[in-house]
Amino acid sequence: MNNKAQLHTLEGLGAAVLMTLTILAITQSTMIVTPQNALAVDVQLEQMSSDALAVLDIASMASVQYNLTECIASWDMAEPTYPTGNLDNLDTALSYLLPGILYNVDLAYTKSGNLNVEKVIINGPPSTNAVVARRYVTLTNQTVNNMGGGWSLQDDELRVVEVRMTAWKV
């Protein structure tokens, strides 16, 4: 029998071990790739949510029926009962701007020094990869009266309201 190729055999074995280890390393690296994809989706979702609120806020009267300030001014101050929200103007506009995305909307404002957070649109419990987008609007008695809302503001009062949207993909 030929016994002269031991070193070559060892080299071949070494190369095989290296290749096996490399394939293992690549397979394991998919664990790192997965959260990257999830975060990339979160970044995109957060941007889309912020953009949707910004578009509603700064849109001209010709492009939207009611802008964000008018939608918030029209709120009747009543708590909604799931699954129906009580801010239909805003819900309609958001569902058009965010197809395939679910969202809850809360309004936060201070009254007599106390922070109030009220739910106005409820679409269910957010998933674990939900993101939050915020936009601030300022209400005066005039804007509220124009929209027939339930905010009881004085003529010399302004109220800053945080529109807090929690968005998630299903």
Binding site: N2, K4, A5, H8, E11, G12, G14, A15, A16, L18, M19, T22, I23, A25, I26, S29, I32, V33, P35, Q36, L39, A40, D42, V43, E46, S50, A108, Y109, T110, G113, L115, V117, A133, R134, R135, Y136, T138, T140, D155, D156, L158, R159, V160, E162
Partner: protein, 153 residues
């Protein structure tokens, strides 16, 4: 076939295996680096409060104009001066902003520095610029604009 069996010169085959292995190791290292870079860039985009700062800035600008209009409305039915009313309303706005940002762990402060008038009087067409200091801090990002000059005419 017999000659191949007796051939012990397999260096090229072994060397090829080694080269392929090294190439695969290089590719794996690159794939890992790309994945980690993607993770960090996505994480940085999520962590950096770009929208919060932009919103604080633009909302303050919008409010300066709202407050100016409201000041003249109030002035028409009261004895207070325009600068006094403007200051009161702006302080009230600043307090509300502080409370709202504090509710999600951020500090934001908008304070009125001065109201600029073209000719020293405070008619509705005379007030042209508002100087405001804006600061924002969420623990990792600190933003300051002192002063932010807002055109309100």
């Amino acid at each position: 076939m017999e000659s191949m069996r007796k051939n012990t010169k397999g260096q090229w085959i072994a060397l090829s295996g080694l080269v392929i292995s090294l190439i695969l190791i290089g590719l794996a290292a690159l794939a890992n680096q790309a994945a980690i870079a993607g993770y960090h860039s996505s994480n940085a985009a999520l962590e950096f409060p770009k929208e919060n700062i932009r919103e604080l800035n633009s909302h303050t600008r919008d409010n300066a104009r709202i407050i100016k209009d409201l000041s003249f409305e109030i002035n028409s039915t009261s004895n207070e001066t325009i600068p006094f009313i403007f200051e009161q309303l702006f302080d009230n706005y600043s307090t509300q902003i502080q409370n709202l940002y504090a509710s999600h762990g951020e500090t934001a402060d908008v304070s009125l520095v001065s109201i600029n008038s073209t000719n020293g009087t405070f008619g509705i067409d005379d007030i042209d610029l508002i100087f405001v200091n804006i600061t924002y801090n969420d623990g990792s990002t600190h933003y300051v604009s002192q002063p932010e000059i807002i055109e309100v005419r």
